[in-house]
Amino acid sequence: MLLIDCPWCGPRDDSEFQYGGEAHKRRPPAPDQVSDAVWADYLFHNQNPKGLYLERWRHSAGCRRWFNIARDTVSHAVLEVYPADALPSNAAARAVYEQNWRRENEAAANAAAVAETTEIGA
C-alpha cells in the first residue's frame, strides 16, 4: 500500500485516497471548436507509461483536496507531490510533463483557438 504525503494532511495510506488518472490534461477551452479526434484525446486517451507518471490523486477520506503526484509506475516511488494547479519542480517529472504528445496537441489546439478568435474579431 502506497504511503502518500498529502500536502495538507501529511503521510497517509493510499486507502484514504482516490485515484484521478493522468494529470495536466487540459480541457479544451472551447469544446465546440475542436474536432471529435481532439475531444477524444482529452476524454478517452491517457498516457500509460511504464515509468514516471504525473497523476491526480485526492484525499477523499481526509481534506478532500485534489493534488498531483509524480509516481514511478514500476517502482511505485513517489518523486514529488505538488498542487493541482502547479507544474512539477522535479527535473525528471518536468521532462515527463513536457515530452508527450498532449503538449503538441495542445499547442495545435491553442493555435486553432487563436485563429478562430482572430477570425471572429475580424
Partner: protein
C-alpha cells in the same frame, strides 16, 4: 511418563510437571505443555501422519516449523475446525483433537494409494494432458480430482471466534526473533527509536535454542536470549510480539502480520481475540527471518522417518523427543554434524553419518572433528541409493560416489535406521525480501540465493542474508539494527558485539539429485505437491524452459508451503536438465500471504452487523412499529411497502399506489441526497454542471436538473432549489450522493478554481416527508398556518419556508408521482415528530404510507426515469427522450461536446420506450432481452432490454420501460422477449402510461 516411549528423560523446553491428553485420528495420546502437535506425536512414536497429494504414499513429520510440507492436519471440529495446519506449528493443549488430511477412507487404508502403483501414468502435467477433453466434462472431473486431492475441509458454520485488526507505525520493524533479530532490536532500541520485533514461534532465540551448548559473552546462549527479550520488553518504545508471523510485505514498507493470541490455549478466554491482524507501517525494516534446511533428493526420500537434520536436532533439544532410536545422518555439509552431536549427547544411537563430501574436503571442520572424536562412524563420499520400509523407514543402502559425483560405484552397504536425518544445505528465508521486490543473487559457495538489491527501505541480517554463523548473526544483526535506526532518524552508538567462540565449517558439496544404481524409487523434490526430480526433467524435456512455466506445469512450489523446502532443489535440477547455471534459470516470485491466514483474521470485526454501517432515517422507528418491510438502498434501510393484515406484496403495493392518486399518500424521502451549494458563483457553477439553464432561476423556485459525465452520458438527476441568490439546495439520487459530491468538488477544484462556490453534504441534516395526492394540500393546510399553499403563492416548482406542525420547515412543491405533491423538509431531529403529526392529521383523509416499491411504480406510470435503472452510463439525454432539458444554446456544460460526437448522434442508439405486454396481467421480467426476430434458439439480434417493469393498479395492467435500439421509430411494433420458460411479446409505446398530459399536478 512412560506413556511417551520416545520422550527423553530430560531436556527440552516443555513443562514435564504436567501431562495433557490429545486425540489424533481418533486415538488418545499424551504430551506436555510446550509441545507442538508434531513433537507430541513423535514422542509417541507416530511418524506416519498423512499421505501424498498425488500418489497417496505414506508421509511423516518432516520438519519442525513453518516449512513442513507433509504433516498437514485438520484441527478441531464443528465451526472451529481449521484445515491445512502444519502439525509442527500447532501448539499442544489439553483436549486437542486433530485428523490427517488427504486420506480416504482412512490414513492406514487409503484407496487412492493405488496411484503410487500406476504412477508412471501420472507424470507432470497429467491433469492438463488428460482432463482437458472434452472441455464440457471438466466440471465433473474437477469435482472428483478435488476430492482425491482433498486439502482439508472448510468449516460450514459461522466462525465463533473473534478477530481484530491493529494498526501501528514504527521506526524499525524487526522480523524474526533469533540471534540476528534480537541483536538488531537491541541496537535499534538503544537509540530510543520506536521498535517492533516479531517472532513466529512462541519462544525467541531461533536456532540457538536447539543447536546445543553455545556461549554468548560467556553465558549459555539461551540465557543471553532470555536477558535480551526481558530487556526489550522493559523498554517503553519497544513492542515484542511472539507467535506473530509477518505474512505480507507491500509497497512503501507496509507490512501485515498475524498474531496468534489464544490458539495455544485450547479454550479461548471470552475476553480475548483468537488472532490479531497487524497492519504496520515501518520507516525501516530489518529482515532476520533465518534460513530453511533443504532436503536431499534421493530415492524414496519421502518415507516416514526421513526428516530434516535440523528438525531432528530441534525435537531432541527443544522438546526432549527422540525421532528415532537408530538414526542415519545423510548430509552434504557440516551443520548436520550438530544433529549427530545432539543425538550423541542424548545417548541416542547413530548408525552412521553418510557424507556426500570426500573426507579431505570435510575433515578440517570443527564439527566433523568432534563427531570423529566421539567415534561416530562416517562414510565420506557416499550416498544413500535406496531406502527400505513403507510406512516407516527401516534402513537404507549406501554406495560410494564415483569421482564426478554423478554415479555410484563399488559394493552396497546396508544400514539399519528408523530415522534418516538429511541435510542438503540451507536456503535463506528470502520470501519477504522477495515479496518486497528485492532481487536475489546466487551464492555459489554456499549454494543458495541471498538478498541482493533491496527495493524497499530494508536490510537483511543473519541467516536470511546468508550469514549462517552465530558470531556473524550477532555482529551483523547489531549493525543492521543500528543502520536502520539511524536511517529512521534516530541517533546513537552501536553496542559492542557479544563474544562467541568461532566454529570452523567446511563448504558443502552440491549434489542436487543424488545418484543411484537403479532407476527405482521416486526422488521427491516438492513433498507437498508430490513433484519428483523426474517430473522436472520431463517438463524441461517437453520444452517448459521458463522456471515460471515449469512451476505451473509440475506444480512444484505451488503448495501452501510455497515451496519452502523445494524451490532451490527444483531450480537446480531444472538448471541441470537445461545444462544452465542456476541463477540463469531464475527464481519464481513469492507472493503474500507467507502462510495461510484464516479469512476471519482479514475480516477482523467487520462481520455480521458490523460488516457495513446501516443508515436509517429519523422516521425509522415508525416504519418498524407499523409493520413496514425494508429493502437495502445503498447503505440505507428503506421502507419497501407496508402490508396490512395478510396482504401480499402485490396487494399492498396496489393499495398504496391507488391511495396516492385518489387520497393522500406519504413517503419517507429522507434518504434523498442533499448538497448545500453556496457562494457568489453558485448559479454559474450549476449552469455548467447541469444540462439546462440555472442563471435565471428565481429565488424560491425549484428546477429539475440532469447531470452528465464529460462523455455525455447521464450521471445523476434531481431537483435543486434556489434558496437565495447565492444559495442552492441540491437533491441527488439516494445512491449517487457521494459520487455527485465528489463530482462537484472535482470540477470546482481542478477545472474552475476561479468560481467561488462551496459544497456541503446535508443529506443527514434534513428529514423529508413527501405527501402526494388530491388531498395533499388539505392535509398540509391543517398543519401549517404560516405558509400560503395556494397555487398563486406556492405553484408547482415553488418553495416556501415556514412551519409545519410547529416545526421549522422548507416546503417544496415538487412531484415524483405526477400528483399534487409537497416535500416537507425539517431538521432531522424533528423528522419523526413531523411524520407522526402528518399521520395523525391525515387520519381523516385515510392517509396511506407508501414505500419504495410504490414510489417506483408511481414514477414509472409517469415515465419518470431512475438514474441507474433506466440508465447505465451509456445513455444520453437524447436516448431518454429528454432533449427538452438540454440547453443546446448554452455555450458549454459538462458533457455538451460529447453529445455532438458521431456516436451520440447514431439513429440506432438504444432509446427509452414503453412496453406493454400482450397479456396485461403478465409483468415482463426486468433485465429481459428484447429481440425483433424470434428464433428457436440463440443467437438472435438483441434490440435492448427491459429497464423497469411493474404491475400498475392505476393503469389496470402491467407496464414496462425498455431501452431499445432505434426504439422511437418502432412505436406500435410488436417485439419478443425470449425467456427460458417461454417467450413473451409486447408492443412498443411511448414511455408514459398515466396522465400523459400532466394534468394532475394541480390536484
Amino acid at each position: 511418563m512412560s506413556h511417551q516411549p520416545y520422550r527423553l528423560a530430560s531436556g527440552g523446553h516443555i513443562d514435564r510437571d504436567h501431562e495433557i491428553e490429545f486425540t489424533f485420528n481418533g486415538r488418545l495420546y499424551r504430551g506436555h505443555p510446550g509441545d507442538t502437535l508434531a513433537s507430541a506425536l513423535l514422542a509417541n512414536g507416530v511418524h506416519f501422519v498423512g499421505r501424498g497429494f498425488k500418489y497417496h504414499r505414506p508421509r511423516g513429520i518432516f520438519a519442525a516449523g513453518a516449512e513442513e510440507p507433509n504433516a498437514l492436519i485438520q484441527l478441531g471440529h464443528g465451526p472451529r475446525t481449521e484445515p491445512n495446519l502444519r502439525a509442527t506449528q500447532v501448539a499442544l493443549y489439553d483436549g486437542l483433537t486433530a485428523t490427517s488430511q488427504n486420506v480416504w477412507p482412512s490414513l492406514r487404508f487409503d484407496l487412492a494409494s493405488v496411484n503410487q502403483w500406476v504412477s508412471r501414468f501420472l507424470p507432470a502435467g497429467f491433469y492438463y494432458k488428460t482432463f482437458m477433453w472434452p472441455a464440457s466434462q471438466w466440471m465433473r472431473y474437477e469435482h472428483v480430482i478435488r476430492k482425491a486431492a482433498g486439502l482439508g475441509k472448510a468449516p460450514t458454520d459461522r466462525d465463533p471466534d473473534r478477530y481484530e485488526k491493529m494498526h501501528d507505525h514504527v521506526d524499525v520493524l524487526i522480523v524474526g526473533g533469533g540471534p540476528a533479530g534480537l541483536a538488531a532490536a537491541l541496537a535499534a532500541a538503544a537509540t530510543g527509536a520506536r521498535v517492533m520485533v516479531t517472532e513466529a514461534k512462541a519462544g525467541f532465540g531461533g536456532h540457538i535454542c536447539f543447536d546445543g551448548a553455545q556461549q554468548i559473552d560467556g553465558q549459555p546462549a539461551a540465557e543471553w536470549v532470555t536477558a535480551a527479550v526481558a530487556k526489550l520488553q522493559a523498554m517503553p518504545e519497544v513492542t515484542v510480539l511472539p507467535r506473530t508471523t509477518v505474512t505480507g510485505y507491500y509497497d512503501h514498507n507496509y507490512i501485515t502480520a498475524l498474531e496468534r493470541v489464544t490458539d495455544h490455549l485450547g479454550n479461548t478466554p471470552t475476553h480475548l481475540v483468537r488472532q490479531r491482524f497487524w497492519k504496520i507501517r515501518a520507516k525501516q525494516v530489518v529482515l532476520a527471518t533465518g534460513a530453511i534446511e533443504r532436503p536431499l533428493v534421493f530415492a524414496d526420500n519421502d518415507r516416514p522417518g526421513i526428516m530434516l537434520a535440523s528438525a531432528v536436532r530441534e525435537y531432541v533439544n527443544s522438546y526432549g523427543v527422540l525421532p528415532g532410536r537408530e538414526t542415519v545422518i545423510f548430509t552434504n555439509n557440516d551443520d548436520a554434524y550438530r544433529t549427530a552431536l545432539a543425538l550423541d549427547d542424548a545417548h541416542a544411537r547413530i548408525t552412521a553419518i553418510v557424507d556426500l563430501r570426500a573426507e579431505a574436503d570435510a575433515v578440517a571442520g570443527d564439527l566433523v572433528a568432534a563427531a570423529r572424536d566421539r567415534g561416530i562412524k562416517t562414510y565420506f563420499n557416499h550416498a544413500i541409493i535406496a531406502v527400505s520400509g513403507h510406512r516407516r523407514v527401516t534402513g537404507c543402502s549406501i554406495m560410494e560416489l564415483a569421482e564426478d559425483g554423478t554415479t555410484v560405484t563399488g559394493p552396497v552397504t546396508s544400514l539399519v535406521a528408523d530415522c534418516i536425518a538429511m541435510s542438503g544445505g540451507w536456503s535463506p528465508s528470502v520470501h519477504l525480501f522477495s515479496q518486497s521486490r528485492g532481487t536475489l543473487s546466487w551464492d555459489d559457495e554456499q549454494a543458495c540465493f541471498i538478498p541482493d538489491v533491496a527495493h524497499e527501505a530494508t536490510v537483511s541480517v543473519g541467516a536470511s542474508a546468508g550469514d549462517f554463523s552465530l558470531a556473524g548473526a550477532l555482529k551483523n544483526g547489531l549493525k543492521g539494527g543500528m543502520e536502520a535506526a539511524r536511517a529512521s532518524g534516530a541517533k546513537g552508538r552501536q553496542p559492542a558485539a557479544p563474544k562467541v567462540d568461532p566454529v570452523t565449517e567446511m563448504p558443502l558439496r552440491a549434489i542436487w539429485q543424488v545418484p543411484t544404481n537403479a532407476g527405482k524409487g521416486k526422488q521427491f523434490v516438492d513433498f507437498q505437491n508430490d513433484v519428483t526430480a523426474a517430473d522436472i526433467r520431463l517438463a524441461a524435456q517437453e520444452g517448459y524452459l521458463s522456471v515460471e512455466h515449469t512451476k505451473r506445469y509440475t506444480t512444484t512450489g505451488m503448495g501452501t508451503d510455497q515451496g519452502r523446502t523445494s524451490n532451490v532443489n527444483a531450480l537446480a535440477i531444472l538448471a541441470n536438465a537445461r545444462d544452465a547455471h542456476i541463477p540463469d534459470v531464475g527464481t519464481t516470485t513469492f507472493r503474500p500471504p507467507l502462510e495461510p491466514v484464516a479469512i476471519g483474521a482479514f475480516a477482523g470485526r467487520a462481520v455480521g452487523g458490523q460488516f457495513e454501517p446501516v443508515r436509517s432515517t429519523p422516521m425509522d422507528p415508525w416504519h418498524h412499529a407499523n409493520g413496514a418491510t425494508f429493502e437495502h438502498v445503498g447503505q440505507w434501510m428503506r421502507a419497501w411497502y407496508y402490508p396490512r393484515g395478510s396482504e401480499t406484496m402485490r396487494e399492498a403495493v396496489d393499495r398504496e399506489c391507488v391511495a396516492a392518486r385518489t387520497g393522500v399518500g406519504i413517503l419517507d424521502a429522507s434518504t434523498l441526497g442533499k448538497i448545500d451549494v453556496k457562494g457568489p458563483d453558485a448559479a454559474e457553477f450549476l449552469n455548467r454542471i447541469y444540462t439546462n439553464g440555472w442563471l435565471k432561476l428565481a429565488v424560491g423556485r425549484a428546477r429539475y436538473g440532469l447531470m452528465l459525465g464529460e462523455d455525455g452520458m447521464v450521471k445523476d438527476d434531481g431537483v435543486t432549489v434556489r434558496l437565495a441568490e447565492d444559495h442552492f439546495h441540491m437533491t441527488t439520487t439516494t445512491g449517487g450522493t457521494a459520487a455527485v459530491l465528489d463530482w462537484l468538488e472535482e470540477w470546482s477544484q481542478t477545472e474552475w478554481p476561479d468560481l467561488q462556490v462551496y459544497f456541503t453534504s446535508v443529506t443527514e441534516q434534513w428529514a423529508v416527508a413527501s405527501i402526494c395526492g388530491p388531498k395533499a394540500r388539505d392535509l398540509l393546510a391543517e398543519l401549517s398556518d404560516d405558509i400560503d399553499l395556494s397555487d398563486a403563492a406556492l405553484p408547482f416548482m415553488g418553495v416556501s419556508t415556514g412551519t409545519v406542525a410547529g416545526l421549522p420547515a422548507r416546503v417544496f412543491r415538487i412531484s415524483f408521482t405526477g400528483e399534487l405533491s409537497f416535500e416537507i423538509n425539517v431538521p432531522s431531529r424533528h423528522g419523526l415528530a413531523l411524520w407522526t403529526a402528518l399521520m395523525a392529521a391525515g387520519e381523516k383523509y385515510d392517509i396511506t404510507p407508501y414505500g419504495t416499491e410504490s414510489m417506483h411504480v408511481l414514477r414509472a406510470e409517469k415515465g419518470f426515469i431512475i438514474v441507474g435503472q433506466e440508465t447505465d452510463g451509456s445513455v444520453t439525454p437524447g436516448d431518454l427522450g429528454m432533449d427538452w432539458i438540454v440547453a443546446s444554446k448554452k455555450a458549454d456544460f459538462v458533457g455538451k461536446r460529447s453529445l455532438a460526437r458521431t456516436d451520440s448522434l447514431r439513429a440506432d442508439r438504444k432509446q427509452l420506450v414503453g412496453l406493454l405486454s400482450t397479456d396485461p396481467e403478465v409483468v415482463l421480467p426486468e433485465g429481459a432481452q428484447v429481440v425483433a426476430d424470434l428464433k428457436p434458439a440463440p443467437p438472435m439480434t438483441m434490440l435492448g432490454h427491459v429497464t423497469s417493469s411493474y404491475y400498475s393498479a392505476n393503469c389496470g395492467r402491467s407496464i414496462a420501460m425498455a431501452l431499445i435500439a432505434g426504439g422511437r421509430a418502432r412505436l406500435g411494433e410488436t417485439v419478443h422477449l425470449p425467456l427460458s420458460d417461454g417467450n413473451l411479446t409486447a408492443v412498443v409505446t411511448e414511455p408514459q402510461f398515466f396522465d400523459p398530459k400532466g394534468e394532475r399536478l394541480n390536484g
